[in-house]
Symmetry: C2
Subunit: 241 residues, 2 copies
Amino acid sequence: MTESRGSTHAKRAAYDLRQRIVKGEMPGGTRLYEVALAEELEVSRTPVREAMSRLAEEGLLERAKGGGFVVRSFTYADVIDAIELRGVLEGTALRLAAEAGAPDEKLEPLKALLCEIDASFGADGAPPNLELYAGLNGEFHDLIVGLCPSHIVRSELERVKSLPFASPSAFVFRNRQSKAMMESLVIAQAQHRAMVAAVEGREGARAEALAREHARIARQNLEKKALDNAEPDPALALIVD
Amino acid sequence: MTESRGSTHAKRAAYDLRQRIVKGEMPGGTRLYEVALAEELEVSRTPVREAMSRLAEEGLLERAKGGGFVVRSFTYADVIDAIELRGVLEGTALRLAAEAGAPDEKLEPLKALLCEIDASFGADGAPPNLELYAGLNGEFHDLIVGLCPSHIVRSELERVKSLPFASPSAFVFRNRQSKAMMESLVIAQAQHRAMVAAVEGREGARAEALAREHARIARQNLEKKALDNAEPDPALALIVD
DNA sequence: CTGGCCTGAATTGTATACATCTTGGTGTAT
DNA sequence: ATACACCAAGATGTATACAATTCAGGCCAG
């Protein structure tokens, strides 16, 4: 086909649908009609159903009573809660990692990454590259959560992070007021280092507390955004309230 | 049809499949073939696919590379982790409830339920009714989590609890050694009362710590079981390791 | 022996026709 | 006015034929 990626029609349909949902077309509560979507996406009803099922697994849709799917509604409070929950789960992941002990060969790449992150926002005076920072930040979160020995905790965390507004790098940029933003980056990076140190030193409680506090930065940025109410953040497109 | 419940073929198929999985037929890693299942369940492939999608949403199946579904594998360690995770999430739910404050009209039913639970295990000398206790215990957990103002936290907790070995009343009975078991019930009930008191008194940290420790009772019971290795617990049927 | 590549049987992916259910509206009797 | 039954349109549920993909096994060339 011409656009979107995926090897099967169902995966392409899921991709397209996901895009439309997170972009805010189809606000929360919108019912998805198989026939209409099948026409729009130019496939039959079968892959559309398959796609909707996949998005339900991701938590973007929910099954309606009497059949069919509805776009899940998220309020501003849900965004706050999702960030809190991410902090709780990352905290648990780090605590378990600390309690179990992390091998040096897995800690080394993390420390290397920390230095890369330093460079990305111009710790040496170079101009900050926020795109790059966001990417490296996401990578850092993936790596450090990878230290957690529990499949279950990791997969539930993955699930929460799949919500576009709950990902670690959801609200990093957009504040071009370089002063406050730079300070927030410095603080975040200090917490990054402390989290690694806590896991390395098997300080479970410290690691957990740090991860929770770290997630609060996202919440702060969000609340700052809400006050400024500048251009609406794309990560908030599917928020109804 | 003759057996199982549900109004559509897909729901019945999902129910049947779920039963077979949690009973331990089809151990973790088993691949599910649509045609074979369609014949066994006496429906066409379409509702079978639908059923598998639903079970994937529940976390009982996972999508295999190259299509199809596989029964999710759970190890003994996963059971431990799932119980830990339930404790963490219940703790978060209670902390948020405590921080937000719970109205008296929602606390009253909880306190009434606590008295019913007292009666169920013969606090007054009557013989303990473990069936009844397990039911009331589950009800208690539902009610107290219902105090949490966050949809997101509640729904993720619901998801974890849907794993048969992670539910609050998974390992309450089976230890007929009445002495140790009775003591564990007394402790659990004391924690129940403390959790309600902590939420009522807006003591978030206390409520969270209590919920986590409370979940450890399930872990203790499980580990005791593992040592005794008496008849295998049905809640553990789908464990592979 | 090993690597790559056929090839075909088994399996899932897709389209579509038909069956069933859900829902909202309408009419009627109370 | 209200309650109820009923109907029709539209939606999802189901079966099935056919297409495309996957994977294992054997074959051949190196």
